[in-house]
Symmetry: D2
Subunit: 225 residues, 4 copies
Amino acid sequence: MTSSKLAVVAGAGGALGPALGIALGNAGFRTVGISRELPPKGFDDHVSADLADTRAAENAFSTILSRHGTPSVLIYNAHRFLIETFENTSPDDFEAVWRTDTLGAFVAAKTLLPSMLEEGGTVLFSGATASTRGSARFSAFASAKFALRGLAQSLAREYGPQGIHVAHIVIDGLIDGGYAQQLYDVPSADCISPEALAREYLNLIQQPRSVWSHEIDIRPFNGKF
Amino acid sequence: MTSSKLAVVAGAGGALGPALGIALGNAGFRTVGISRELPPKGFDDHVSADLADTRAAENAFSTILSRHGTPSVLIYNAHRFLIETFENTSPDDFEAVWRTDTLGAFVAAKTLLPSMLEEGGTVLFSGATASTRGSARFSAFASAKFALRGLAQSLAREYGPQGIHVAHIVIDGLIDGGYAQQLYDVPSADCISPEALAREYLNLIQQPRSVWSHEIDIRPFNGKF
Amino acid sequence: MTSSKLAVVAGAGGALGPALGIALGNAGFRTVGISRELPPKGFDDHVSADLADTRAAENAFSTILSRHGTPSVLIYNAHRFLIETFENTSPDDFEAVWRTDTLGAFVAAKTLLPSMLEEGGTVLFSGATASTRGSARFSAFASAKFALRGLAQSLAREYGPQGIHVAHIVIDGLIDGGYAQQLYDVPSADCISPEALAREYLNLIQQPRSVWSHEIDIRPFNGKF
Amino acid sequence: MTSSKLAVVAGAGGALGPALGIALGNAGFRTVGISRELPPKGFDDHVSADLADTRAAENAFSTILSRHGTPSVLIYNAHRFLIETFENTSPDDFEAVWRTDTLGAFVAAKTLLPSMLEEGGTVLFSGATASTRGSARFSAFASAKFALRGLAQSLAREYGPQGIHVAHIVIDGLIDGGYAQQLYDVPSADCISPEALAREYLNLIQQPRSVWSHEIDIRPFNGKF
């Protein structure tokens, strides 16, 4: 273990994950990414796990603790996306989305947050448009993202006074190069730059404790809201 | 099956459940209550099920459909309450609260809502203070109640135009005679009357479709908010 | 003065005003309407005033107090509507909208609320879609309606424990027969029935103090939200 | 006029005003402060005006335009604070608070925003705890701050797609060295650092247009919320 601080990004793939790894690395953090499949780009180390699986998630975070020590930063960015009519959403779908989007975040915080109390640190949760608005065809995704927001608020109020900065980023738009952007074929000019978004995460991490934000929204200049 | 309309209350025990059964019965509904243990008072019929168990929940709702036909009203009032530090909340606790408070509601709507489309109807979800505010020691309960609210919004936007009135009641206080009131030993005068609260549910059910409310809050006159 | 209770409706014209007068009258209230021009239909008595003019408003409410005694119910339903680009909205426009939509409500509560403390009562404020969402071309109207909502929350928290029920109705749609409906030529079937809406106001007035709502939303079943 | 960009801070006094001037200056902006009385520290130029007075406000902003050209940044930070029972708040008080806190912001945007369209720019509004919560004894202040928030949302939705970044900062705590901190005698360690807060304003100004925030909250780590 070196003297540089450790940042853990759960959900290190996709478009935002690697951008977070690179931004954190440039800011002097050692970085560990967790993703389901291929090693994500931009991280110093990588652990593979399906965060929807509680035991696998616990193992992944414990491995990081024993290998790298206590993190200063935890970013929970894993999500399973689903746009589907209620009629075509099964209880298993509903549960699968929640397991990745919410329960995984609980397990991540559960495993890492206690050890972070000694030195203080930052826990960031990636939200979405659906975090504050439940739309048609979003019953599973909105429910899970609302749940994540409720968890984030509880943790902020419980741990803020103990020196852990908990914040929730409402990503209200499509990330350029991400899964949804490709799905919808939206022009890059109408999307969120993952590199610029990663800098906003970094800004939250660097906020002095007298000016902590708990919730910020992010969208492109021409995004409807 | 008679010509009177059918109302199903999932979570028919506690203090509010029986009051809902009685109010609905007085308004001319045939009533079926679902609860985990003893037959709840105030209902015409009763099905016993642990709504946290998806298969058991599906069976309970299917039994009601075959025994009584399509309901006009579904009220999801089941909840598992938990006030506990994050440190003392296990992933199993977190999941158990969500299974009862959120997944059970999804399964209830999933099983009954499609059959309700032909005649139209009302689906009501019981929320709580924690539905819009995640406080310290509420990580599990707030997350589950936020999740229920996200589900309610999605269903309202997806099914409202099809004639299903979906509403969410933010019960921002303790119900007189309920579990939490007994736990905290709060005087009845500072609590919500279950009979009066049931009449507010009935008011939502009776709203003509030109004046549907999606969300109302309810608290005692001297309740802090 | 008779023994029946008094209800004052400020903003007694348009489509909703008369419906409120009739619903309150049917519920046994003596009713006084305030409007700018013609005597509104459906009220027992009428006072003419431009509520944007503080002195005129104070005079109107004082006249009612001396003529009819202390009201049990105050409904502030007056509004000046404006949909206009920011570029074409002058400071005078911005102020005129606020004077009718917000300051008039403050003066109404200021003049009547203190006398209502002895017996208790209800104060209702008519909100709009713009009460919780500031859209393009709504800079004046949204700002004034947000301001009214802030006032309503403050009064609810200050006077609720003293027995005054303060509530805010978010009317999220066009009222059938109202100014905006005629302006946009929206079919009645897509509008809010003023009679049905008036019954929801009455329901708020009749809520026992153990189940007070502070904010409810109202929209047609097929209204987008 | 030099080639550096211009930033205008309305409400340049108090604790935050000078910190904004210094932060903007350090970031390369020419800075003009507007305040009622003494020239605020930390600005390149100063115009004195009572922003509650529409004509005076218009004159002040026009003077800046003619003296310094089109600004890139407008920060509306002027406010009149009032904590007072509703009973002791007069209509004149209510209006005075709104004139400074809301109408002045409208006039500022009205005078400067059109000229900013050509090059694009940023308009920031300083909010408060009372921007999203109307508490007892805050009828005037909460109403005015809600009104400002409604204005900010409308402008964001109207001008965002035209290249003007409009954001609202919910300052949920006392600023160290500010009026309210002195009034309540709160220890500095429990307050918001004005220098750190100014850096968060600067971060909003520097957000690339693919990652604009519309609303952020700011509070000390131990602030209740």
